[in-house]
């Protein structure tokens, strides 16, 4: 059976056009963009070209706000710790939604250990941030508030413009982690009212090893990495030109293809959701409509996610899960708990994230394998004979 990859949320194949564009920086164009000779200047030109392409993807005022990092995790760390430490004069509070990526949550927890107050904002059962609670929690002592554009585990897209309005009415900074959303839904940092925005290269079908923090002009951050003052001093270290050139090209291609590819995936997504919800004891996680076009996430009664993942993989279909048994900490996903699921319910989660290689014709096979997997694991499960959880 042909392989069907449904774990684009974890990693994407590099776009062949991106690889073709960027591979010369692995092979022979090895100049350092800080060098003033011809090889260095060529690298610098490509670096600035990539900056421009990323700026266009998110409609930044200009390319100067684009700071390349080594990953989205690093960008999240820079945004949160950088804003909190640089603006400590304003106060020692930070805030985030309860469903942020672990790189946001852990950055804030580190600040908490150093005397900051961390305010987690609850979400409803669809994963939408509670705006009243947000308004209530934010005080003038807040140095940065982090709300993701869309959640990677449940696909929910947050009402960023409304959130931004609340944050800005109080004169505070909004950081938005757009790792799962950028390149897949239109983002306009100016119209959306975003001060700091995180992007990842690989989520745009670019190479791993590059991320971006967009910093609105005028916002001051304390850098995490000190050295030669690259990236306007926000991120020292010689730039990974292969990854950055690739990310720029990936951003350009994503911008051109977004609408068409988004519509194609959305049709597939809706069909998959409709068919899988026909399985008894299956539930959608996340918002039914306000969700990423490539994202379909579920939970199943009486069975466990790692078993689902392994079973699907034996039939050459790769998925992901928020089950505790698949995590390094053996804790179930904080996102699934935050939307109100019990531990038992959170164990049975499965995420299907679609991408370029998936075709409408694959859907019957996908649905068949999901059905058989659920059926087989339920036969093994002692919980099946008991009432529905």
């Amino acid at each position: 059976m042909e392989n069907i990859y449904l774990d684009h949320i974890s990693s994407r194949s590099i776009d062949p056009g991106v690889l073709e564009f960027a591979k010369r920086f692995l092979e022979h164009d090895y100049g350092n963009p800080s060098s003033l000779h011809s090889l260095g200047l060529e690298a610098k030109r490509v670096l600035e070209d990539a900056r421009m392409k990323v700026a266009e993807l998110i409609n930044a005022e200009n390319e100067h706000g684009i700071i390349f990092t080594g990953s989205a995790t690093e960008a999240n760390n820079l945004a949160i710790k950088g804003a909190a430490l640089r603006n400590i004069g304003k106060g020692k509070e930070v805030a985030a939604s309860a469903i942020e990526h672990i790189s946001v949550i852990n950055s804030m927890k580190e600040l908490q250990k150093n005397g900051f107050t961390l305010n987690l904002i609850p979400v409803d059962s669809d994963g939408i941030v509670n705006l009243e609670k947000l308004d209530e929690i934010l005080t003038k002592n807040n140095t940065v508030t982090s709300i993701m554009y869309a959640n990677n585990e449940i696909g929910t897209i947050e009402p960023i413009r409304e959130i931004s309005k609340i944050v800005h009415e109080k004169g505070l900074y909004l950081h938005v982690d757009a790792t799962a959303a950028a390149g897949h839904v239109p983002i306009d940092v100016q119209a959306d009212g975003i001060d700091l925005l995180t992007l990842s290269s690989n989520d745009l079908y670019g190479p791993h090893g590059a991320g971006v923090l967009y910093i609105k002009l005028g916002i001051k951050l304390q850098p995490l990495l000190l050295g030669g003052g690259q990236e306007r001093g926000f991120r020292s270290g010689t730039e990974d030109i292969f990854a950055i050139a690739g990310m720029g090209e990936a951003a350009r291609i994503a911008r051109l293809k977004m609408t068409k590819e988004g519509n194609r995936l959305k049709k597939m997504r809706d069909r998959i959701i409709q068919e899988i919800l026909n399985i008894e004891g299956s539930h959608l996680t996340g918002h039914p409509t306000q969700r990423l076009p490539y994202h379909a996430s579920f939970r199943f009664d009486h069975i466990e996610g790692e078993s689902i993942l392994l079973n699907m993989d034996m039939y050459n279909i790769q998925v992901s899960t928020g089950s505790a048994c698949s995590s390094k900490t053996l804790e179930p996903s904080h996102v699934l708990l935050a939307i109100g699921l019990t531990h038992e319910q959170a164990h049975g989660s499965m995420v299907l994230s679609l991408g370029k290689s998936n075709k409408m014709e694959d859907i019957p096979v996908i649905v068949k394998v999901v059905k058989e997997t659920v059926e087989r694991l339920r036969k093994l499960s002692p919980l099946s004979k008991k009432e529905v959880m």
Binding site: H302, E304, M314, L330, T342
Partner: protein, 134 residues
């Protein structure tokens, strides 16, 4: 080197588990784990002259929870109950060519479930013997 992922034997038992199901009126029944933690195992044994003649299980849990359950039934079937009591978690993991370190404690409960079933058998047997004496 630390083991990455599951051994072939674990995957084989996960995909084709032996002795799945329940036994009506078993001579011994054992249950360990908790769905809150993500693992729950139930073991049923039939015993004749202190030898385990049949054994069935049902498991909610990850790949190693299912594979260790299946493996322990294979190991214990045909064994004297006192011998079966000596099967350890490590024995089960060894028979499966090892488990990833993180799985050694949380989902390697099959031996415990077997021991619970044997204890249940012995208790029932004692009660029966006491009643017969009266």
């Amino acid at each position: 080197m630390a083991q990455i992922g599951y051994s072939k034997k674990v995957m084989e038992h996960f995909m084709n588990p032996r002795n799945v199901g329940t036994i009506e009126n078993p001579d011994g029944y054992g249950k360990v784990g908790n769905p809150v933690c993500g693992d729950l195992m139930e073991m049923y044994i039939t015993v004749k002259d202190d030898v385990i003649t049949d054994m069935k299980f049902q498991t909610f849990g990850c790949g190693s929870a299912i594979a260790t359950s299946s493996m322990v039934t294979e190991m214990a079937k045909g064994m004297h109950v006192d011998e079966a009591m000596k099967i350890t978690r490590n024995d089960v993991a060894d028979e499966l060519d090892g488990l990833p370190p993180i799985k050694m404690h949380c989902s390697n409960l099959a031996a415990d479930a077997l021991h619970e079933a044997i204890k249940d058998y012995k208790e029932k047997k004692e009660v029966k013997e006491r009643n017969n004496k009266r």
